[in-house]
């Protein structure tokens, strides 16, 4: 294992410490070492936005803490849900008196810890509502949406929910907007190599050289098809062919497109893939309102890529457009 680490058991602690030092323009530490907050959180009179999840997906989840996005984040071990205590402390850090929206991904551990956290903060009189992201198309059939995992589409959910809260939406409005964002989003990943949790020391799944796995999950969960390695254009075709019919997206729809690397993919290759995705969507008559390409949601050092597409409407467009100042999502109006 060729990695830049000290004691693997201290990896997350050291990551968070370093992160807080670098990104002090947007985040602050809290009494809980596994919770980071927006530097100005809680924002009085604003619905608080909380997320959380396992580490190893950087810049998710902590990178989305910042102005107009997420107010506080609960940080777990590598690929493992944060504790109930961390979610509870993040909720408290984000609570500006108008309730807190916890926007997270559909994983068993996260579901349980958020449930316990909501119970814990109820004693403090904090009103909490949740949206559980389930944008990963290959993780379950269309008739079992509640079984699907949350993947990179979560970013668009945080962007929309955070913007709605920043614009003064109440808790129900923020929850409704975030729910709409994820309901309108479909994602898929392709993995080319496995990844290794340092404390484990070896990969716990394998992808043979010369092969790739379509539909792979963010922790190496099996996909829907293992095939010979394809060209970037062929990958784009397979991804688009899976994602578009699922919502479905129709000609004339305006969409946000998010292409994320999984950690080891050279950034330029993400643009090669995007180039073809853009053509394919245009052929289908989709109008690309905003494209995002980069390492938005990774899986340690996995070689691979995810594609997320979100269908917009008149409510979602201004929420996507609103300024955002988080390390993982920084966007300002251009005059």
């Amino acid at each position: 294992m060729q990695r830049i680490i000290n004691d693997p058991d201290q990896l997350v602690e050291e990551t968070v410490k370093g992160w807080a030092k670098v990104h002090r323009d947007t985040v602050r530490t809290t009494d809980n070492a596994r919770v980071l907050a927006y530097k100005d959180a809680p924002v009085a009179g604003k619905v608080g936005i909380v997320t959380g999840g396992g580490s190893g997906h950087e810049p998710a989840f902590l990178g989305y803490v910042g102005r107009n996005v997420v107010d506080a984040v609960a940080i777990g071990e590598i690929f493992s849900s944060p504790t109930a205590q961390a979610f509870a402390d993040a909720i408290k850090a984000a609570d500006g008196g108008k309730g807190v929206a916890v926007l997270y991904g559909n994983y068993a551990g996260d579901n349980m810890n958020v449930k316990m956290a909501v119970k814990m903060v109820a004693r403090d009189g904090i009103e909490v509502k949740t949206v559980v992201a389930n944008d990963d198309v290959p993780s379950a059939p269309a008739d079992q949406l509640d079984k699907r995992r949350g993947v990179a589409g979560e970013i668009l959910m945080w962007k929309v929910g955070g913007a709605k809260a920043a614009l003064g939406g109440d808790l129900d409005a923020v929850i409704a907007a975030a729910q709409k964002a994820i309901d309108n989003t479909r994602s898929i990943g392709i993995g080319l190599t496995p990844c290794t949790i340092p404390a484990v020391g070896h990969a716990n799944f394998s992808i043979e050289p010369g092969k790739m796995e379509l539909g792979i999950g963010h922790h190496g969960e099996p996909g829907i098809q293992v095939t010979d390695l394809k060209t970037a254009d062929e990958m784009a075709q397979m991804m688009v062919d899976t994602v578009l019919p699922d919502l479905p997206f129709n000609s004339g729809d305006e969409v946000v497109v998010l292409v994320s690397g999984l950690g080891a993919t050279p950034i330029n290759e993400l643009y090669v893939l995007y180039n073809r995705v853009d053509e394919l969507l245009a052929e289908k008559g989709l109008v690309i309102y905003r494209p995002y390409v980069g390492n938005y949601f990774t899986s340690l050092e996995m070689m691979g890529v995810t594609l997320s597409v979100m269908k917009l409407d008149d409510e979602l467009k201004p929420l996507i457009d609103l300024d955002a100042d988080a390390f993982g999502f920084r966007q300002f109006k251009q005059d």
Binding site: A108, G109, N204, G217, P222
Partner: protein, 215 residues
């Protein structure tokens, strides 16, 4: 009445800590086959933290168990932190004010353990989870007591059922949690949670049995 004195029961919790620490790598290896390979590591971390918290003092079995549960809940994330955390907190709560824990009180603890898991998830027997160990173990204990068997014999029945339940997960397809994504590929391997649950129940049973008195 055959029972264990609550105030003398801290060593029972220490036995749970010891068995999890001793099986750290074993549990992680099982988990690595169909999960992410961190079950033993995370469990051992939490149980060791509880050991440190309990070190030097003497508390009752209920208090020690509550401390263990609280630490698992607050320090260990993933699925196992809340599941085992809630389980031990609720088990402890049922005997908090009980001086002598008899078969009826122990049976109530086992029922509370099942309730604690059900509060958090939908897992049922057959889903390849720790419930495949816990549910038959509780049922066997209750049945033995109902048949008029001794507390000692009921504990043996519980441990035997826990072991069978744990072994039953080998032929099951995971329906819940991360390994459920594997579908048929999860068959043929034990569930790590079912194994840790078996280790905890059988160790608890043996440690309680050693301390039963007729006083």
């Amino acid at each position: 009445m055959r029972a264990i004195t609550n105030a003398d029961g801290q060593p029972v919790v220490q036995a749970l800590i010891d068995v999890i620490k001793a099986n750290r790598d074993h549990l992680s290896d099982i988990d690595g086959l169909i999960g992410d390979g961190d079950h033993g590591v995370n469990m051992a971390k939490g149980f060791a933290m509880a050991e440190a918290r309990l070190a030097g003092g003497t508390v009752s079995m209920a208090e020690a168990m509550d401390t263990l549960g609280f630490i698992l809940m607050s320090e260990i994330g993933g699925s196992m932190g809340p599941l085992y955390g809630n389980l031990f907190i609720d088990m402890a709560a049922t005997v908090k004010n009980v001086e002598r824990i008899d078969a009826a009180a122990f049976g109530a603890m086992l029922k509370a353990a099942i309730g604690a898991i059900q509060e958090l998830g939908e897992a049922k027997v057959g889903d390849k989870t720790l419930m495949d160990t816990l549910v038959p173990a509780e049922a066997a204990f209750a049945a033995a007591v109902a048949e008029g068997k001794s507390f000692d014999d009921a504990i043996d029945a519980m441990s035997e059922a826990a072991e069978k339940g744990k072994d039953s997960t080998r032929d099951l397809v995971a329906k819940i949690g991360r390994s459920s994504r594997l579908g048929e590929r999860s068959r043929g391997v034990l569930d790590a949670g079912a194994v840790s649950c078996y280790l905890l129940l059988s160790t608890m049973g043996a440690a309680v049995k050693e301390r039963l008195t007729d006083a």
